[in-house]
Amino acid sequence: MIRLDRDNVPLLFLIGALIPTTIFLVIQAVNDPALFLETLIKALGLGAVYALIALGFVLIFKATQTVNFAQGALAAAGALFVSFLVADEHIPFTTVPNPLINIGPEWLGWGLSVLVALIFAALLGLIIERITIRPMVGEPLFSVAVITLGLEIVLRVFNNDTVKTEFRALEIPWGNGGTTVGGAFINYSVIAALITAVVAFVGVFFFYRSKTGIAMRAVAFDQEAAMAQGINVGRVFAIAWAAGAVLAAIGGIFATQPPVKQTGAVEPETANIAFRALPAVILGGLDSATGALLGGLIVGLAEIFAGQYAAGESDWLGAGYPVIVPYIVMIIGLLVRPYGLFGTPEIRRV
């Protein structure tokens, strides 16, 4: 039973806020089912993109205990690699033409190019880890976090310099196309984001139960004890960073597509996706993949629904208010559960 005392104020506030919201949404759903369905799918799509980015944060945090603030720049870099390969049709940083783009039908060449871009993203993650993170093993975590913040700025400058004011399209085969289900328009990109998120989460679920995954969790829990078991901590860090960078790149690609953006092109703003996804990570708990998924979905739902149904109030809310909704959700969530919805409160026997 929930006691009515000061400790439970945030929880009661949350319940108090959720009940009228639910009633309001049910009324809306009955009034205009098509609009409601469209909003819901859009929200799930955005949630999936947030969840993918959040999963990248979680992977790196779980192995290295570091919040990687460079995740946004890595996302933009990943999208940029795709743009290099499919729009400019050459291998990144070279003038060598991309041989893959002409293979088979359009979607096959495009898909293979995206795979190559993801490999480039993984390499970028590996290089960053080897040069800037590995030498910091055993140093204060705060210093490492600040290093990643520096990396974010360096990479962003690099990305922005490359993007300039050009229109850097990703030339997604399905473009802005979509399908209509029960009067609701569903973008193909949203479906792709949902499928990718499901695949990524199932993959991570099984990875954490594999030998390498268990080694990664061991390193996260007690580095010295993991080393004593013969686990190569450096290699675990490298794997985590490569995987984190790949997830960031995937998130970055979706960040150029609806429902995040309508343009379908890389912009300097693409890198902000990580900071928009940060509430999802914090809300879910930094060390939980399940948390990343749920946090992403909750934040995505809150943002899109607030944007759709509170638009009438925008004269006092301001036009860009949906963007801050995730942060409000995060703050309320943290007040109720300080270590996130699924974060591990420490179990330690002394």
């Binding site: 055993g138 268990i214 080694a215 829990f221 007690d222 993991a226 080393m227 078991q229 013969g230 686990i231």
Partner: protein, 265 residues
């Protein structure tokens, strides 16, 4: 055979912890390394297992050789692969993972699946209690079970030499006996054991040979019988007093600071 000769270890480039330590662990034996707090027992272990780096320590002199090969300065993973595993002080189980997952980390260096399965069965045989708790979170095991898990985890790599750092720490006398019997079992099946302990009685009761270290070097060594008969060992490590046992002793008579150990000249 593990041979440590004239080993010197320095932390942070200034703090000299081991000053010319020499010990030997012959194949198939249990060797006890005894010493008070701060004598350098754990540092010795770290030097063997390659974990000095983590603590800003380094071997500055002397050698550690394992079956004739120098291992000082090697990576911990290489040392585990060469057949030396350790049970760290304070158990250090991965509390957030299950018992089975903890055991998997122990077998990390073994690539052969059949060999891993065999050592897993062996661990389950040694510690039937762990079998009942395979899918439980390790953090919720009792202290004794955690110690068993820590030993089982080290055994997963099928070591030729097992180094245990204070396995009796914080355990009830009954459990200490149980752990002691398990160490004997492990040794009987061919694994050499280096037992680092403060609990001299427990260690000497099973050891083939014993070393006593103080401030970074060996001050006395010999067969357990010889060590147990020594007056200084009796008083400082076993808490017994020489002389007439029938007479009641007052704490006033136990003036440690007045009694000089014969080895500290």
């Amino acid at each position: 055979m593990l041979e440590i000769a004239n080993l010197e270890v320095v932390y942070n480039e200034v703090i000299l912890v081991l000053r010319g330590l020499s010990i030997e662990v012959p194949d198939g034996q249990i060797v006890a390394l005894l010493g008070a707090n701060g004598a350098g027992k754990t540092t010795t272990l770290r030097a063997i297992s390659g974990l000095l780096d983590v603590h800003e320590g380094a071997v500055t002199k002397g050698s550690i050789s394992w079956n004739g090969e120098a291992i000082a300065g090697k990576k911990p993973s290489e040392i585990v692969r060469s057949g030396i595993t350790q049970v760290m002080e304070g158990r250090r189980v991965f509390a957030e993972m299950t018992v089975d997952e903890n055991l998997t980390t122990g077998g990390f260096t073994i690539k052969d699946k059949a060999a891993t399965a065999a050592s897993y069965d062996r661990v389950m045989e040694l510690f039937p209690q762990l079998g009942e708790r395979r899918s439980q979170t390790a953090g919720y095991l009792s202290g004794g079970e955690q110690q068993m898990l820590a030993i089982g985890r080290a055994m997963m790599a099928s070591p030729k030499l097992l180094v245990l750092d204070e396995p009796s720490l914080g355990l009830a006398p009954m459990l200490i006996e149980q752990i002691r019997d398990i160490i004997v079992d492990i040794n009987k099946s061919g694994t050499s054991v280096l037992l680092i302990e403060q609990n001299a009685m427990m260690a000497l009761s099973i050891a083939d040979y014993g070393y006593i270290m103080e401030t970074g070097k060996i001050v006395m060594d010999g067969e357990p019988a010889k060590l147990l008969a020594d007056d200084d060992v009796k008083e400082f490590y076993l808490g017994l007093h020489s002389g007439d046992d029938t007479e009641k002793k007052s704490f006033r008579d136990v003036k440690h600071y007045k009694r000089r150990k014969k080895w500290s000249s």
